[in-house]
Symmetry: C2
Subunit: 608 residues, 2 copies
């Protein structure tokens, strides 16, 4: 089943939900015209369909091979990455002065989602490289920028993020890799890093590892971690590659999914390179501020992983829809002469619509977030900047958590639509289910996102950002109410359902926010017991808000004479979301507010 | 992580929720004493832990191998099956006169769940064999019973069910395998069957295939399907094996999970055997009644697959809990000197408690169903028999659908508890996630179960069985209310939450039943659009009912002086279910009752 870029959906969400036109008017984006955005989306669609989507299955069935510390990537990946860089896609969001295109985050969002939809395993290499570019540009020295960034943007080199160690997963305070300063100002690193995505491969000449490590005199915990650049091959003064550094891939992990992405165990300082013992590394920014720097990349990476959830969902949906249209089985429920395509069966429709509605809602939330990012960084009014930045930061854990939890559900439904064939690997649906499962885990599990949402994003401002969103949702609610009152008789029921269920959802969300704020003072364990349900509640309601806005926008087009089935379809999807997804807010809000039960769980889990 | 039989949970659910003592008093079960049941559970626990559980990982990593039509099973499986039969486990439910033990379904339920928990892939062979035994005993001739049943119960032979063909999955009307009568009264079968579990293997001397096929003069559709016995090796008059029949395994499927179970493509009548062209088969029962007979087996098989869901959930839970107790990461949310085991973190507790609560609720519902089966077949009072039979039949699609959808959720949470390690195959959590995914599909997808629940089980009796259950739930509700009023202050809040959420859930369920009954008359598509949410709604509420009964029973023990942590743990799990799972009924009921939106879905899925 070939992947098709959902171009019309991208454009709709960008323009009519995220306010692309307003973003393009921000200072600094003068050269980004609507026509240019259109051209980028179209060119990206062509490139991704032709060069990236075909890499998805081979990545799964012919994973990278490790031999004596060397890793050969899946056939086709090296060419795909070369084409990717040659097309300028690695530089989309990065400044023009460094060879990038300096686009708003909002404009880069759709191409980013698209490549991840086409091949999640492949897309991780450019995603990680993006993070390294952003970190070096933000906190690296000018010399470091010049030395590394052009080759990373140009696709000659790739980048990795080295956080995790066997004893330090979610808890980075436990990082133990050592970095000892040398006379020449460089450092020697010793330690073991695990779960390093694209930690070793043959897609590019060199790999630039960003590594969290601890200097001998550093304080314990997260305040003693520094960030280092450790290139696989040292870079000489003239930019050419020098000695092989002392960082080695000990093995690749055998994973449930994203087989095409080599997940490496990296050993620093085993003495096998050309440089003696200890990997040579260079401090980035100031000592002991590594975690803070890593968070710069992590916020961007978390947003990207959220987009991966949307991309995998989109692809799983397309795959299931194609199968459901083709597979003939059983008669129609109303009666039919013979067997019909299964897409006619009510429950298959329910499953496909659930997949579609969750995907479109998550996408809309993610683009709205990207627009807030751009306004938060580029708006001339400081108050607007601050408000948008807070909104973006509130939405990042939701984009990450909600979109990726959805992706697991959507991919699972994709298998179910296929029936027995869904369980057969060759049918392709199973790969999405396996691939999707990493998304709620890496770059911070859903619980980590939820703790961020509860602590930094809700508690710190006393719920101000959440309440501002709720006020804006109520404006949309009033607009839906007005639309329902003036709608034709046949359309009124659906709009009233949307109104009622959105109203109930907003109240459920408001009650959830209030509970979290209260309990943070009264019973911190109760608040954090509710954190993931609170995140999912926020996701369901923010998604429903955007779906309601989509219904209103499309009804305006239809009222103005549009006969484009896209508009009718959006309305139906929005009403489906209202009917089947928004009510989840009731269950989630009740779970959030039941924190009192949390105290008893320990006993039930037989914790001594 | 070794598997441990949850013996205390089995006993509790059997005795205090499903009324084991009443079942043992039914006519026909006089020889089954409580002591005997205890001995069976203990012996089963020992056997399963020692002989079956160790087969689980090898089945996944060393799947059966096909070569020239022969299939070699996973190493250890042949011995495991031999031991299984030697232990008498294959005959648990079958009549003593045929070499079985003639136990009530309720008594056989726990051992059945236990073996499936220990190794799902392995357990499929005895499960299918059970179905063949039951079908031959129920509708076979006396000669057929004598010829096949003792060797099937004794484990010399195994059995399979052959329904699916490439064009006939859920829609058995499309079955095209032909059966032509021969002069000697036997038939010759020609056709292709797919997805045949244990269709070929080397665990036993012979394989008895039960095959749906169509005689040349048969009417079209499901009323023209007959059932045939087709042995892999013909059985001679003296019981010894004769010629190799013309049924061949063309290939094995490459599946997402249950790798240890060989899923065969079987060709009937390719002319390669010792019998000339066409597989020799023997009609079972009357011609054209094959589907009806197959349903005899299917109801039992659906119940068993529901138990598989519970078993996989139990094992995934044990696996995740063990990891969470061992893995140290991060400080306690209330503050702690150093890092703590992750089982101390609130969201890990939420996940583990969700896994535990869903597993225990589904188990309780399944045992209550088994008790209803036994009363439905053995109760001296015909009215009681009829009522219990209707209740059992109402519960079967719920046991199948709810327990298996839960299993996917539980296995997915099991990965999440592991964090990044969950995605690494060697950690073992991923296997449950892969294995579980077949459960909502085979033996009738969740939609097929839901259609059965809507049509045969709710519509036919005008909702009488559902309403009887609701009345019984309200009795439990009153008991919870009384318990809350008399409880100590510190315990009252939890019991009130249970009361309120159970009350809301029962109302939500009642409204769902009412909607289904109305819409079946008004708008059949709306009713069937709601069928899966209705099934899940029923599952959540029936599960909550049993959890409430468990809370009451355990509080009685505690009031009587019990200090067994098991009782306190059950109470906590029941309250957790009330807080976090029962509210799902609100979302599900709202989705059920939104059938009006269903009409618009077609447009949104671009159906021409």
């Amino acid at each position: 089943m070939p992947y098709a870029t959902p171009l019309q959906d991208f454009r709709f969400a960008l323009k009519e939900l995220a306010g692309l036109d307003d973003v393009l008017k921000l200072p600094g984006f003068e050269e980004v015209t609507p026509d240019l955005v259109d051209a980028i989306l179209e060119e990206n669609g062509r490139f991704v369909e032709q060069a990236v989507a075909p890499l998805n299955v081979p990545g799964d069935t012919q994973p990278p091979v490790w031999k004596d510390g060397q890793v050969s990537a899946t056939p086709g990946y090296a060419q795909g990455f070369k084409d990717y860089a040659a097309g300028g896609w690695q530089g989309l969001q990065h400044p023009a002065v460094w060879g990038g295109q300096g686009l708003p985050k909002l404009v880069a969002a759709a191409p980013g989602e698209n490549i991840q939809a086409a091949s999640l395993a492949f897309s991780l290499c450019p995603m990680l490289t993006d993070g390294v570019i952003e970190a070096v540009l933000t906190v690296g020295s000018d010399a470091q920028r010049k030395q590394y960034v052009p080759n990373l943007i140009g696709g000659k080199w790739t980048g990795t993020m080295n956080l995790t160690e066997p004893q330090a997963g979610s808890d980075l305070a436990q990082v133990a890799t050592r970095a000892v300063k040398q006379d020449d100002g460089s450092y020697r690193l010793t330690g073991q890093k695990i779960f390093i995505t694209y930690g070793e491969h043959d897609l590019a000449e060199n790999i630039i590892h960003l590594v969290l490590a601890r200097t001998p005199d550093a304080p314990a915990g997260v305040k003693g971690i520094s960030l280092f650049i450790v290139p696989k091959f040292l870079v000489q003064a003239d930019g050419s590659l020098g000695k092989r550094n002392d960082v080695w891939c000990a093995s690749l992990e055998h994973k449930l999914g994203i087989h095409g992405s080599p997940t490496a165990v990296l050993l620093y300082g085993s003495g096998k390179g050309d440089v003696g013992e200890g990997a040579i590394g260079y401090l980035v920014g100031e000592q002991n501020r590594g975690l803070e720097y890593m968070f710069i990349m992590m916020n961007a990476a978390r947003y990207s992983v959220g987009q991966q959830g949307i991309g995998v969902s989109e692809r799983a949906y397309q795959h299931a829809l194609a199968y459901a249209r083709e597979r003939v089985q059983g008669r129609a429920v109303e009666g039919s002469a013979g067997a019909v395509a299964i897409v006619r069966h009510p429950d298959v429709q329910r499953m496909l619509m659930t997949m579609k509605a969750l995907t479109e809602a998550a996408r809309a939330v993610s683009y709205v977030a990207a627009a807030a990012h751009d306004k938060g960084t580029h708006h001339p009014d400081p108050e607007q900047r601050a408000r948008n930045r807070a909104f973006y930061e509130y939405l990042v854990p939701i984009v990450k958590g909600f979109s990726t939890e959805n992706a697991v559900e959507v991919a699972s439904l994709g298998i179910q639509v296929h029936g027995g064939m869904g369980f057969i690997e060759e049918a392709g649906a199973a790969q999405f289910y396996r691939d999707a499962r990493i998304l709620p885990i890496y770059e911070g599990t859903t619980a980590i996102q939820a703790n961020d949402l509860v602590g930094r994003k809700t508690q710190r401002d006393g719920g101000a950002t959440a309440h501002a969103a709720i006020a804006a949702m109520r404006e949309t609610l009033r607009a839906v109410e007005a639309e329902a009152s003036s709608a034709a008789a046949g359309e009124r029921d659906g709009l009233r359902l949307l109104r009622d269920n959105l109203d109930g959802a907003i109240q459920a969300y408001e009650a959830g926010v209030a509970f979290i704020l209260e309990q943070l003072a009264a019973n911190v364990r109760a608040a954090y017991s509710s954190s993931v349900p609170y995140l999912m509640l926020a996701g369901v309601v923010h998604g429903g808000w955007q779906m309601a806005r989509a219904v209103l926008a499309c009804r305006r087009h239809i009222a103005a004479g549009s006969t484009d089935p896209f508009h009718a379809s959006k309305v139906a999807t929005g009403l489906f979301y209202a009917a089947h997804i928004l009510p989840r807010s009731l269950a989630l809000s009740a779970a959030v507010r039941s924190g009192v039960v949390a105290d008893a769980c320990g006993a039930s889990l037989d914790i001594a």
